[in-house]
């Protein structure tokens, strides 16, 4: 008597499993099921054998194809194409650059220099220094990027915090206004708070990730 069991896998899922197209979780469940199901295992073996047979058959040349003749035809077509290209003519050997207009360039350069000198003369000294510092910081920015340091320590009236690459470790005292916060250049910030009930002093310190 043929057993009909709703728990057996249908052919479409077995075919997908044989081709590794069922997906991770479904494959996991299917393999779990097949540990105890001889029928599904046999069916899967059959699907896999079919896949191998089809793959093997696809590697052979179709029947009736003469490879030598096919190769000669392709070579002939390429030669005809090259000959047709020569009839059309050669590519220009070099591109033509537009003629540089030295006169116009000189006028633009003179106007630019006039503007820069005028701007610099009329710029107040603090702003000029600020501009120079900003330009210097742009030039030295790659060096700062190479420094790789992204950690920051913060000690404020709201508490202390160590920040590193989008994460942070912080402490907020029970009475932030009364807490004493200090910074140590060794790489830590501390907050001192006093418990009103116990009279006990607690110093919490967070460190950078160095």
């Amino acid at each position: 008597m043929n057993r009909v069991d709703a728990n057996h896998m249908d052919d479409s899922r077995l075919a997908l499993l044989a081709g590794n197209d069922l997906g991770f979780w479904r494959s996991l469940r299917a393999h779990w099921h097949m540990r105890g199901c001889e029928r599904c295992r046999t069916a899967l073996d059959a699907f896999q054998a079919d896949r191998r047979a089809v793959a093997q058959a696809a590697q052979d040349m179709p029947a009736g194809v003469d490879w030598t003749r096919l190769s000669e035809e392709m070579t002939g077509n390429i030669r005809v194409g090259l000959a047709a290209g020569e009839c059309v003519g050669d590519y220009p050997t070099k591109l033509r650059f537009f003629r540089f207009r030295w006169g116009a360039a000189s006028v633009v350069a003179a106007l630019t220099a006039l503007f820069v000198v005028g701007f610099w003369i009329n710029l107040p000294a603090p702003q000029a220094d600020h501009l120079v510092a900003a330009l210097k910081s742009i030039v030295s920015r790659p060096a700062a990027r190479d420094a790789r340091r992204t950690d920051m320590l913060v000690a404020s009236g709201r508490g202390i915090e160590a920040k590193t690459n989008g994460a942070s470790l912080s402490y907020v005292p029970p009475d932030p206004g009364a807490a004493l916060v200090t910074v140590s250049t060794r790489g830590s910030v501390a907050a001192r708070s006093l418990d009103d009930d116990t009279g006990q002093t607690t110093i919490t310190e967070v460190y950078d990730a160095r």
């Binding site: 996991l28 510092a133 340091r149 910074v183 140590s184 006990q200």
Partner: protein, 385 residues
């Protein structure tokens, strides 16, 4: 063997059976929930031979919440520790490791000014917030011991956070301040002690704090750079002074000053900590921070402390504070033989120091006793040890 039982089984297999098995998806979800809950609970581990033992740990306030793409882990643990050694304990430092912040991400909780006898217990509260980009899995938070200081200044612990020096400084400051206040009490009676307490309260009320941000090795301010002479406040009994110092300032940012330190004592020095006072354009002075350095200094030797950090100052309202001048002073020195030097009370009477220096943890505690319990309680406290 298949007989009637075999037929019964076949018939049963034809009936609809609702699936009650735990699918892998359900199992994984349950596992995630379990690990998320377990992740909030910090692990507390002390060495076997530790002079303090864990009596109880209440992590009831520890929670983890997901906010947008981030996870916020509040580590709130109330620990009760017992002095399981034979000596009185004066201070304890616990280390809190939060590896999810970054490799080495850590914090510490120090309780100075203790007076815990053998067998006695004391509470320690750990209250930290870890914010990290959301990732499934647990936040590993471990609490351990970094150091214990006893009443004879002996130290126990791995000292990875240099807690020995810090606990020693707190204890020596406590002894200095208690001795000073007891001397006032002996010479002028409770009225003189009260007068000192009122002066302390007035100093604290006048003190204003600043916000400080610190980064290592880079400046972000584009204001013009200028060299500022770093003045040095000579304390009469300090074993170290600085013949020359210079700092680079850009707007409200200052690079750690170049300091030339000179050991004029007859003992080898292991580390020096320089206090840093900042003056703004309005002439107000603030305690900017501490510049500690592990510099081996033989007697008579001079060595340069190299800058490594950039500090950015702003007022408590968030306004950038332009730096006008800076001053340094030796706040403590650790000798190679383990002894620690701190400024005397006479040195601290320097008006500039008195204005910006915060009271020691012990003086702060005594001040609170006076404020909350009155002069009589303070006198009793001073007579205890």
């Amino acid at each position: 063997m298949r007989g009637s039982n075999g037929h019964a089984a076949s018939a049963a297999s034809l009936r609809y059976r609702p699936t009650t098995r735990l699918t892998p998806r359900v199992l994984i979800m349950l596992l995630c929930v379990a690990t998320a809950w377990a992740g909030v609970l910090p692990r507390v581990e002390f060495p076997r031979d530790s002079p303090v033992s864990l009596l109880s740990s209440d992590p009831a306030g520890s929670t983890e919440a997901i906010r947008g793409g981030a996870s916020v882990v509040d580590v709130r643990v109330a620990l009760v520790l017992r002095n399981s050694g034979q000596q009185r304990i004066r201070g304890v430092t616990l280390v809190v490791l939060a590896q999810d912040l970054a490799p080495g991400g850590k914090a510490s909780v120090t309780v100075p000014s203790l007076n815990v006898g053998p067998g006695e217990t004391f509470p320690v509260h750990v209250d930290l917030r870890l914010l990290r980009p959301y990732q499934p899995g647990d936040a590993v938070v471990q609490i351990g011991l970094d150091g214990v200081l006893f009443d004879d200044l002996a130290f126990y612990g791995p000292n990875r956070l240099n807690s020995r020096r810090a606990l020693m400084v707190y204890e020596l400051e406590a002894r200095r301040d208690r001795q000073y206040l007891r001397a006032l009490l002996d010479s002028g009676g409770p009225a003189r002690l009260q007068q000192e307490m009122l002066a302390d309260m007035s100093r604290r009320a006048d003190a204003t704090g600043i916000d400080v941000q610190m980064v290592h090795g880079r400046a972000t301010n584009v204001d013009p750079e200028r060299q500022v002479q770093f003045a040095f406040l000579a304390l009469p009994d300090a074993p170290v002074d600085s013949p020359g110092a210079m700092a680079v300032v850009r707007g409200n940012e200052a690079v750690t000053p170049h300091l030339l330190v000179h050991n004029h004592s007859d003992r080898e020095i292991r580390s020096v900590e320089i206090g840093w006072i900042m003056r703004d354009q309005q002439g107000r002075e603030y305690m900017a921070g501490a510049v500690p350095a592990d510099v081996r200094l033989a007697p008579g030797e001079r060595r340069e402390m190299t800058p490594d950090a950039v500090l950015r100052f702003s007022s408590r309202t968030g306004q950038p504070m332009s730096i006008a001048a800076m001053t340094g002073f030796v706040s403590n020195v650790e000798f190679a033989d383990g002894h620690v030097w701190i400024p005397s009370r006479t040195s601290l009477e320097n008006p500039r120091l008195a204005k910006v220096l915060a009271p020691s943890p012990e003086e702060d505690r005594l001040l609170q006793i006076y404020r909350r319990k009155g002069l009589k309680a303070l006198v009793e406290e001073l007579k205890k040890f």
